[in-house]
Symmetry: C2
Amino acid sequence: MSYKIKSRIWIESEDNVLLGEGRVHLLKAIDETGSLSKAAKSLNISYKKAWQLLDSVNKSAKKPVTINSIGGKGGGGAQLTKYGKSLIKAFDEINKNCWAFLDEQLSKIEHL
Amino acid sequence: MSYKIKSRIWIESEDNVLLGEGRVHLLKAIDETGSLSKAAKSLNISYKKAWQLLDSVNKSAKKPVTINSIGGKGGGGAQLTKYGKSLIKAFDEINKNCWAFLDEQLSKIEHL
DNA sequence: TTTCGTTATATCCAATCAAATATAACGAAT
DNA sequence: ATTCGTTATATTTGATTGGATATAACGAAA
């Protein structure tokens, strides 16, 4: 049984985490459900945690990543901005490339 | 001010963490000081944490990474094995390559 | 103006994690 | 035998984290 190489990448802004794997999952769930509370339920995390993550994302980003509305039809909701979608796309691509890169590096430890 | 990409890589064996950045730092300090307690002090971590890390490393590795001795001249000590040194070398190289790789990926977010 | 489901926030409690402390076991040297 | 500094381990305390709960604010629609 050989060793495996694992990795985590994330994007920072002024030493604050902007996007990591968990945050991207949350943003994708918001995009699918249209609300933060439904996204939290779909990910089986508490609303509190989801809200804290989203708040941190929007505070770290240069431009809004979601538009959140309170009240009104359906009680309100959250929507990804175009900017948010482009951030997710960039993260996913870099992350995928990183995995592929590390796969190539496996040869450096297969003899150990 | 632009975003930054950060990363962490680690090597796993049977779903146990074998080597990460912290563990590599500890092993290098052991190599320099010849003892686990001195290594812990030099890294400003508790002996307990250092011991737990080293124990986990040696339990996850296929072959011993350190040889630990109790009692005797100087009270005992810990020494890196050749195998441990080769693991560190491989980790460092892969990690360095990963940083360089992610530097190249920066162009994918510099417009965001 | 009442209803509704949501965002936003505070509070409390449990659980997990880290630090600090204490102590035994060890073996070469004296 | 005693000393010494180390490895190895348990215990306790404190800090941080996360979950659960409660509640206010909101605004469109009925």
